[in-house]
Symmetry: C2
DNA sequence: TTGTAGGCGTTATCAG
DNA sequence: CTGATAACGCCTACAA
């Protein structure tokens, strides 16, 4: 059995194909026309040797490492849902020939400088930024292409992909009103979390739309396990109440199920989650659900980054992805008869920041 | 404002410090004694310029990229818990100066060859391997240091870190017996999933220990939402029944709470999870819980890999981490009075494979 | 259409 | 204790 000391180089390929080393390189990069015959010989040699170009050398020479840095938020514990993003990002990056390198949020702006200066990453994706995040300044200063997942309030200085939280707020209010609710109970204390970009945009949508419909909005839902009791109090006297929150859906559904309040006709619980609730319990099968479209957001983020990388001088874009209603069959059919077809199809819209 | 065309190199540092370029390198790698004065000047210059060594060049020359590949399983959807591992691995790797590059499982053995041949990764962590996984052969052939998270049955040809699933099985049986249960209901169809390494080791522990205690083990718990009803049937007639499963804890707890069976004194539900159940609902506060110690496993995996990387000719090790009981206060106190202190302290034990 | 050659920034082997 | 110097493997401008 032959002992392979180290990986074959482009020179090995060249020798086997009977061409010069640069020809191999040109075949690989495609930056120069190559005759079909030569290309064929080179490709065969590559295949035969199992050749892969050395990424260090390539990066050193071309300043392109083929690696995208992904800065993941600190709060792994609270947000196991993160893996949805990370997985989808890794797969999509793969499709375009990029690898994903994790940068922990705990490294902060220094981490960004590090991966940029060392040249490990040629582009960055940043997640869950705070309102005034030092990392945004860092990545702009670094001068790399980058995409933010999570839109800041106002116009950012770069590309953004995010759920349209303002629209989400309006969707929730509309649904509650349509279903004859007089109140909307928001759990997860959004009133105290306006400092978060997503929360403040969501509340903006909620408040704007509530004004139009006359729906009463209750911001302090109390602790998550107490939500069902709180909701029942509110619904007392036939005032139908909708319940919604940006986080902690599982906990609230749990508490609601345990309290028996899921069956209460005066309560309308709306869930924001990408989980198939019916699979957790048939009791949840009829709960109207909004999908936060994490996979789509991830894929769009990668594609936007690839655009910035490939198109020379491409300008940044803001892409907001529309939340998507997911209804169970029975309910869906019922509703289809009563309503005229509104724009049910989820969509994205894109804009260019003016700042 | 000065325009920085590109990152400073070690030559820039050398000039500023008034030394040769190689001296800078020696200061950085520490592979040669340097006088305190020189080192000082060099370090100052590095600081002043914000210099970071170019990783491409470094990798090209030294064949060490400072990057560890992490092959994450395909099933992001089902296992949001994955992020616990990934986050902890990234942080621990960071501590030792390594970055984590994601390799999707969908790339399979080719993916391993790719990252090895290109030299992007100098070591690998593989998660959730199947019984006869092509990736193990690939990584062994590649000749890189590697660690598996998830122990195969029998002796692997490399380092492994995993939960001690056999012990977990015995712990569950012991607890059920201690609490006066006559039956143990295992949900998640473990009987049909013996092809999984963890499941088969778990069942081994269950069966061995059950033989000693005379506990009756029921393997087919039915679909997850049906578990509470099934358990109640079994518990009928005063035959106390314990309920446990390797996955789907949330779903089962949900269904149990909704059915009101959580209060049934004839049922003992034991959870395998790293979530704080009391935070989800006070109803869950008294459920005995076993922590799967994912963070510890992740950290140990990284440290084992670092050992393989640093210690020359280090031989592989198998490390099994002991599952840890986590009880709520009240119950903990009650139990403390009734029992003599058994080995409650979680521990790891390590062995060297003889294969 | 193809070949030649210089250099990307480091590490590490020579000397001194 | 420190300096010069030769690769590492690839890309690409320049020649042919």
């Amino acid at each position: 059995m032959p002992v392979r000391r180290s990986a074959p180089t482009s020179l090995d390929v060249a020798r086997l194909a009977g061409v010069s080393q640069s020809t191999v390189s040109y075949v690989l990069t495609g930056s120069r026309p190559i005759s079909a015959a030569t290309r064929r010989r080179v490709e065969d040699a590559i295949e035969k040797l199992g050749y892969h170009p050395n990424s260090g050398a390539r990066a050193l020479r071309s300043r392109r490492s083929g690696v995208i840095g992904l800065m993941v938020p600190e709060a792994y514990g609270n947000d196991a849902v993160l893996m949805r993003f990370v997985g989808a990002i890794a797969r999509e990056a793969q499709r375009f020939g990029y690898d994903i390198l994790l940068v922990t949020a705990q490294e902060g702006a220094r981490g960004i400088h590090r991966v940029v200066r060392t040249g490990v990453c040629e582009a960055l994706i940043l997640m869950e930024l705070g309102r005034h995040d030092e990392r945004v300044a860092a990545v702009i200063e670094a001068g790399l292409p980058f995409v933010l997942i999570g839109k800041p309030v106002g116009f950012p200085n770069g590309s953004v992909v995010d759920l349209d939280f303002e629209r989400l707020g309006r969707m929730v209010v509309d649904r509650a009103a349509d279903e004859g609710c007089e109140r909307l109970l928001l759990f997860g204390e959004p009133g105290h979390r306006r400092h978060r970009n997503d929360v403040s945009r969501f509340l903006l949508g909620i408040e704007e739309q509530a004004e139009g419909t006359g729906l009463e909005v209750v911001l302090d839902g109390g602790g998550l396990p107490d939500v069902p009791a709180r909701a029942r109090d509110l619904a007392r006297g036939g005032r139908r109440t909708a319940v919604f929150g940006l986080s902690g859906v599982t906990e609230v559904l749990f508490a609601t199920a345990a309290s028996g309040a899921l069956a209460d006709p005066e309560l309308l619980t709306i869930a924001l989650t990408d989980e198939d609730l019916a699979a957790i319990s048939p009791l949840l099968a009829r709960i109207p659900r909004i999908d936060p479209r994490r996979v789509e957001i991830s894929e769009l983020a990668v594609r936007e980054l690839v655009r910035l990388l490939r198109e020379d001088g491409a300008s940044p874009r803001v892409t907001l992805v529309e939340p998507e209603w997911v209804e169970q069959e029975q309910e869906q059919e019922q509703r289809a008869e009563q309503e005229q077809p509104v724009e049910q199809t989820p969509a994205e819209h894109t804009s260019t920041p003016t700042s």
